[in-house]
């Protein structure tokens, strides 16, 4: 692939401005502002913990931490990809009038969601402290996990943002798909409640491995095996390469369809 680095460099300020805009607008005029990025996952966790500890009982040690890790990881994935999906179309007015590299828009959406998630990570630390989980050196693997998650979501986001230009049905379909996907990922339930003969669904789910990576380092104080790490890196790289290829292939005709 020949990449024009000069163009990419020229538009890095644009990328910064777009991310800044998203972050500024997200909580503008709300009283608590960025605190919402922190409080939202905590409140959701609180509600779900009530439901699943008293109504349906799952036998998971430190269920709040188990749950909030799953929520934040999956929440970032679904939010960033959903926002990225409409990134090209919602900037149609601009793309029709000024020449701009089109990938800037989905990339900016994923980065904005990522920055938001970094605020949410504080919620994980709060739960760790509140549930007497000591901070282990395994947490040093957290940045690697975040990079893997980011790259994976970016790949899917790029693919979605270009496909949605041609098939607007994606907007309606993807909501259903992410719901299905969230149930196919052990966010709030333990893996062992899935019957053996259905577990292959989990094994085909890339997010299952990525989430497992996070839980190992946050919840179980274990360092993921080398093979697990390689698998996660491979998954995210494949996602990115496929996403970029689809995007590059489709982007030349965007202006005709937006």
């Amino acid at each position: 692939m020949n990449v024009d680095w000069k163009i990419i460099r020229k538009y890095i300020p644009l990328l910064q401005q777009l991310v800044l805009r998203d972050l500024k607008i997200k909580y503008r005029r709300s009283f608590l502002g960025y605190l919402w990025s922190l409080m939202n996952p905590l409140l959701m966790m609180w509600i779900l913990t009530m439901i699943f500890s008293y109504v349906f009982r799952f036998d998971i040690p430190n269920y709040p931490l188990y749950l909030i890790t799953g929520q934040i990881v999956f929440g970032f994935f679904s939010e960033s990809t959903t926002v990225a999906m409409s990134a090209v179309l919602s900037n149609a007015g601009l793309l029709k009038k000024v020449y701009l590299p089109k990938f800037v828009f989905p990339l900016a959406s994923v980065i904005s969601s990522f920055v938001n998630m970094l605020f949410s990570l504080v919620a994980i630390f709060i739960v760790m402290v509140a549930t007497d989980v000591s901070l282990q050196p395994t947490l040093l693997f957290l940045p690697l996990g975040l990079v893997i998650l980011f790259v994976f979501s970016l790949g899917i986001g790029l693919a979605l943002s270009s496909l949605s230009v041609y098939f607007r049905d994606m907007f309606h379909l993807y909501g259903v798909l992410t719901t299905a996907w969230s149930f196919a990922t052990p966010i709030f339930y333990p893996v062992n409640i899935i019957p053996e003969d259905l577990r292959y669904i989990l094994y085909y789910n890339p997010l299952y491995y990525i989430l497992d990576f996070f839980r190992k380092i946050i919840l179980y104080d274990t360092v993921p095996d080398g093979s697990d790490i390689m698998l996660c890196i491979a998954i995210s790289c494949i996602s990115l390469v496929v996403g970029i290829s689809i995007f590059r292939k489709l982007q030349n005709k965007f202006v005709m369809y937006i």
């Binding site: 910064q16 777009l18 607008i25 503008r28 202006v255």
Partner: protein, 251 residues
Amino acid sequence: MNVLKKDIVIKLDNVTMNFNLAQEQFSGLKDLFIMFTKGKLKFNKFSALKNVSLEIRRGESWGLIGENGCGKSTLLKVISGIYRPSSGSVTVNGSIAPLIELGAGFDLELTARENIFLNGAVLGYSKKFIRQHFQEIVDFAELGDFLDLPIKNFSSGMIARLGFSIATIVKADILVIDEILAVGDAAFQEKCHKRMQEIMASGTTVLFVSHDADQVRKMCDKAVYLSGGEIVYKGNIEEAYKLYELGGKIK
């Protein structure tokens, strides 16, 4: 990129731009099926530009004239790189500052100050560059006390003024202007014209689309007359207008 003779900044060689109207017309599976069975899907081609060839030299200012829908804006978009021509080649030597619809890159929720940085980045300026010219932009747009107000509260004239001052702050090699000089009140229009003249005096190449013949005559020394996507005439501006008026009468 082809190597151009030094003073040629824009070279269009046999450029054709096709749109498939059929793609625009179907709005779902049902229509797609109907059009497919009628065999209409592939053949509804519309050529907005047909075999357009043009060479523009540094420092020239060209007016593009012709009826509505004759391909003027499409030509500007091809030159700006927004459209890729269906066939033929476009070579542009230098940076382009697009003045197409002012304020297209604004976000209404952001303040004027924030929008200056956002819109500047859309036009490809660095942050440092905008910071250096920030005061100049604000002064020219005459925003005064409204700098930190979200621009959704601005009048359309104020937004256009801000857009104009951001877009013209840079010394680009090529300035592309599509029907936007009717900005603000008389006093501000005068200011715009003055700035345009300054820009042109500094050697910037200008492409200008307008239906206001007086304005085109004032700004440009050459013209292209387009009709139905084809160049009828290129060269002397008076000649172009003569043909244009003649063409209107024949129709």
